[in-house]
């Protein structure tokens, strides 16, 4: 943990946070607040696409799960920067665990989902389930 020594109340905040963490442990509340990354979701005829900016995440720590055919869950963690003997001058980038859950616009085939993490962007390609694809119905006439 890096102590913010530039902040006049840095030491005090640090102290307060530690007390808070201690209380949280006792009363079973999560010590790290969870944030949820923003996703863009769009669909083509047979595929649903979802993308999110997740810079600085270890892709092996990303957990992408689909349940009930249309519930997408993306979980992961961004670790704080580690430097020995360091002090914050400025701290704006969030870190900690994050989770995002949402309903996809149609049922997808979970076995054929492709996920790729590149340049800090997570891209998901979710083929629609057969049942959700548009089907032309022939009209019979006598």
């Amino acid at each position: 943990m890096i102590v913010n020594r530039r902040h006049p109340l840095g030491a005090l905040w640090h102290e307060i946070n530690q007390v808070q963490d201690e209380f949280s442990k006792w009363f079973g509340r999560a010590t790290t607040p969870q944030s949820s990354p923003q996703f863009s979701v769009w669909e083509a005829e047979s595929v649903v696409y979802a993308e999110a900016d997740l810079p600085g995440v270890d892709p092996s720590q990303l957990d992408v799960t689909i349940t009930e055919g249309n519930q997408l869950s993306v979980q992961g963690e961004r670790l704080p920067p580690e430097f020995t003997g360091a002090a914050w001058v400025r701290q704006e980038r969030p870190f900690g665990k994050f989770v995002r859950l949402f309903t996809l616009p149609s049922l997808v085939d979970a076995d054929r989902v492709e996920a790729k993490y590149e340049n800090g962007v997570l891209r998901l390609m979710l083929p629609k389930h057969e049942a959700a694809k548009p089907r032309k119905i022939a009209v019979k006439s006598d």
């Binding site: 890096i2 863009s40 769009w42 083509a44 595929v47 696409y49 993308e51 900016d53 997740l54 810079p55 600085g56 995440v57 270890d58 892709p59 920067p81 430097f83 020995t84 003997g85 360091a86 002090a87 914050w88 001058v89 400025r90 701290q91 704006e92 980038r93 969030p94 492709e114 790729k116 993490y117 340049n119 800090g120 962007v121 891209r123 390609m125 083929p127």
Partner: protein, 120 residues
């Protein structure tokens, strides 16, 4: 070939000009260690060749160009900082990994902590 390679991104968010360039001030962390300053900036979706880091007249500036994607127009990331005299301008280096730009600004020898040997 994976479908991801040629995913058809939506052309524009309805009601928005897709081609309008958006300028974003990226979030940064600045950390000071004994020997250097480290700047970490979130630049998701950017390739190393599209980043421009400059140090001029005591000012460090970073620029990044992100192509239009997912209905957003092209994005420019821009941020600049005044850098203390204690930084060795000619030794600044930068690397981009997983959408995070890391700039190392080593301090000049004169300001680095030095252990003085006490003679008896």
């Amino acid at each position: 070939m994976s479908n991801l390679e040629n995913n058809p991104t939506p052309s524009a968010v309805p009601g928005e000009e897709a081609e309008q360039t958006i300028t974003i001030t990226p979030r940064v962390d600045v950390i000071e260690t004994e020997n250097e300053f480290v700047v970490l900036a979130d630049l998701p979706g950017i390739l190393p060749e599209d980043v421009d880091v400059r140090f001029e007249k005591g000012e460090l500036s970073l620029h990044g160009q992100r192509a239009a994607t997912r209905g957003y127009g092209p994005t420019t990331y821009h941020r600049s900082f005044a850098v203390a005299d204690s930084v060795a301008g000619d030794k600044i280096s930068a690397e981009l990994k997983a959408g995070v730009l890391k700039i190392l600004l080593p301090k000049v020898e004169a300001v680095k902590p030095k252990k003085i040997v006490v003679n008896r």
